[in-house]
């Protein structure tokens, strides 16, 4: 099984081909809808973000609370298409790996290919397994957003599929052609 570290260089990202399964390790920032909106608004205003997105991997996720004796609860992806309008500013801020589930808009697909960034699709609904592939998990900020806060995680052999590669390859066939609203 192919393995990838989230701190890999652009060359390794370019080698990824849509359709393949890989085991992903390394640090990721996990956040979803509301944190995306807040980041996009801050970036638009030119504010400095409290998170370093340069070269970062972003996981569209919010885990269940960690039960006693575990580093985290269940972890899995949320639907990526909802983040499509917020993806351009994040790519602009340097994010190179996005992890979520489900198809993306053609606009995001083109943007990722042009930017040397990739979208990795994790299987939704397999989050007990996912939680066991997370080595570290902690709050990274914006706790006022409740479950939608920003989390810092370290993955180890987390199973994902290369969904959109840097050559415009796409794992999704039918049901993948819905255009997203205009970027924020």
């Amino acid at each position: 099984m192919k393995r990838l570290d989230t701190r890999c260089g652009p060359g390794q990202l370019r080698e990824l081909a849509a359709g393949g399964m890989i085991l992903l390790s390394g640090p990721v920032l996990a956040f979803r809808d509301r944190a995306h909106r807040r980041m996009a608004e801050m970036l638009k205003r030119g504010d400095r973000l409290p998170f370093d997105l340069s070269g970062a991997a972003v996981f569209y996720a919010a885990p269940t609370p960690a039960p006693p004796g575990r580093v985290c609860g269940s972890v899995g992806p949320t639907t990526a298409m909802r983040m499509d309008p917020f993806t351009p500013p994040l790519v602009g801020a340097g994010v190179r790996i996005f992890i979520g589930k489900g198809p993306r808009s053609p606009r995001v697909s083109r943007l990722l290919a042009e930017s040397g960034a990739v979208y990795l699709a994790a299987a939704g609904g397999v989050a007990a397994l996912g939680g066991c592939r997370v080595e570290r998990c902690g709050a990274a900020g914006w706790e006022d957003l409740g479950a939608e806060a920003v989390y810092s995680m370290v993955l180890r052999d987390y199973p994902v599929f290369v969904a959109l590669d840097t050559r415009g390859g796409n794992i999704f066939g039918k049901g993948a052609s819905v255009e997203s609203p205009e970027p924020c």
Partner: protein
């Protein structure tokens, strides 16, 4: 058999306890029978990412069983269907309050995610996962039957209701359900369970579609006409090629369940409620 005629008192506390247990059980315990449905989907499934997804789904059932972790991080909205016997008297509180309190406790004590926000526009997160969505029906008898469907947003966001022309028939209904799955199914965590509600009105067809997801596995409709419709829709949905997680393949839905009830002569209300493969339910009779 002696028919009960005396009122039966059931404490609100007992209902709350049962509800709290049901929430944890539904989220963390793989539904009996789900494994064999997924294994059947995998047998003969061509090699590729879709098949690997089915492998992961099966592995996740094992992991949840071993660790007690929730099957999915989206522990959802708790949707309860309560059938209250006409002789049942809830003492020390209302049924509504008991269910909401039980959900709050179950989600807190079971380390389940609190996914609800207060105002849909302000999006302020709520402290616990109450209120539940609660449907109460009165039936004959002295028992209270509670059924829970844990509903994640990924699949709920793919759900839709509409008013078809009254004479749209099986063709119109089949096309509507197929198109709904084609448009929104890939992000709803297929392989799916597809609940379809026909008739009633705007809200009743939606309730039927949701309740259809609580039907036990492997039990087609008892109405021959609806059973044929279920088979036809399943065939068309699976011919779509969306596949597990949208990665392509011959299985997009595991089951289609159609429920129907009378409606106005001028309309054909139809609702489609998508359920993900991490099908989470619980039932108690008190």
């Amino acid at each position: 058999m002696k028919r009960a005629v005396e009122p039966r008192f059931l404490s609100a506390g007992a209902v709350e306890d049962a509800v709290a247990c049901m929430c944890v059980e539904a989220c963390t315990r793989p539904a009996p029978g789900l494994r064999s449905l997924l294994e059947r989907a995998r047998s003969g499934f061509p090699d590729g990412p879709g098949r690997k997804v089915l492998d992961l789904c099966l592995l996740n059932l094992d992991t949840a069983g071993e660790t007690g972790l929730p099957l999915c991080q989206d522990t959802g909205t708790a949707v309860f269907f309560a059938e209250k016997g006409n002789l049942v008297v809830i003492s020390g509180g209302t049924l509504d309050d008991a269910v909401h309190r039980g959900v709050a406790r179950g989600y807190r004590e079971g380390f389940l995610r609190k996914s609800l926000v207060g105002c849909p526009l302000e999006r302020t997160p709520l402290e616990d996962n109450s209120p539940a969505v609660l449907h109460i029906r009165e039936v004959e008898g002295d028992a209270l039957r509670l059924r829970l469907l844990v509903k994640g947003a990924g699949s709920e966001n793919g759900s839709v209701a509409s008013m078809l022309p009254p004479l749209a028939g099986e063709d119109g209904v089949t096309a509507f359900v197929r198109d709904a799955v084609l448009e929104r199914g890939a992000g709803a965590c297929p392989p799916l369970f597809v609940g379809v509600g026909l008739g009633g009105d705007l809200e009743l067809c939606s309730i039927l579609a949701k309740e259809a997801l609580l039907r036990p596995f492997g039990r087609p409709s008892g109405e021959p006409r609806l059973r044929r419709l279920e088979e036809r829709i399943l065939g068309e949905v699976n011919a779509s090629g969306i596949g597990p997680q949208g990665f392509g393949g011959p299985v997009t839905a595991l089951e289609v369940r159609v429920e129907a009830c009378p409606c106005h002569m001028a309309s054909l209300p139809v609702a489609v409620c998508l359920g993900c493969h991490a099908h989470r339910t619980a039932e108690r009779v008190l």
